[in-house]
Symmetry: C2
DNA sequence: TCCTAATCGTTGGTGTGCAAACTAAATGTA
DNA sequence: TACATTTAGTTTGCACACCAACGATTAGGA
């Protein structure tokens, strides 16, 4: 009972879940930033690399679906990854509409560096693994609920 | 036990908390968007209005601290709110460095419209209030942990 | 086969977020 | 009082994130 005065205002800033969600997301990204900088990656670029380390080659559309990002967001992002030299972008031979993104040798090699990041984050956050797993589960439920709402 | 094959790869995309956090944040914001559009507000602008409905008048610095946003982000955002006609921006008479942001009549009146939003969100998400409160508490812990890490 | 519709990615516009350089104003100190 | 320092906002540059319009390609149907 930290609040003597009951918070009844549904518009109180510190009661908004969306507000907590934005800040939490930005705060956690801020921890990644210095760790990703040596790799030359931003956080969305890092997520794209994670997807490629898992799948080796993906179309822009598939990557966008995995990361839940617009093609208009993916397109320039992938061009930057290509400019750095971590991926190649080539039209599919069987369907000239689709652009296949593949890892370069340098992109594949980067994985070894990236493996240091998750433990560094956990260490920096100072939260237990069980707690983080629980958070992950909760967030997954929110994502499901939000996507359900969007579909309606 | 949905996973037959144990997920041991710490770089698996769907195990990253940062990934879940980004997507959850964006997914929830997507629910706000159509609700805020009639008010002519983006989500960050909505958060600024929440702060002003609570405090009536705030300096740019104070607003930035409340919303955890850069002055470089606040500055153009507040100009847009002024252009719409919801706030005024005036230099403080006692200290010409600080810019005081205050609500206009229209800005104050908007609150009545905004009151419909939180229940609409809860309804759309279809999650229980207790569940949302629990999420809020968890996010608050993450924010604290992340801010602690940043300070180190 | 020809034509319409659907698919895939790109481009341009707007609005954040963050960092760094900059201006104006106030503060503290010699 | 004069000057260096600090503080508050603005501006610029870059990278998302989303939307709408567009061009190229493919698939489907008359």
């Amino acid at each position: 009972m930290t609040d003597v005065i009951p918070q009844t205002d549904p518009l109180a800033l510190d009661r908004q879940v969306c507000f907590a969600l934005s800040i939490a997301s930005r705060s956690v990204l801020a921890i990644y930033r210095p760790l990703l900088q040596p790799l030359g990656l931003t956080h969305p670029q890092y997520l794209a690399m994670l997807a490629l380390w898992e799948h080796e080659r993906l179309s822009v559309k598939e990557l966008g679906e995995l990361l839940q990002l617009d093609p208009g967001t993916m397109s320039p992002l992938l061009k930057r990854l290509e400019a750095i030299g971590y991926v190649t972008r080539r039209r599919d031979v069987n369907d000239e509409r689709v652009l296949v993104v593949s890892l370069t040798q340098r992109g594949r090699a980067l994985r070894a560096e990236a493996e240091k990041i998750p433990p560094a984050i956990v260490e920096a956050l100072g939260m237990g693994l069980d707690e983080l797993q629980h958070l992950h589960a909760t967030l997954t439920r929110v994502i499901g609920a939000a996507r359900g709402a969007a579909a309606r």
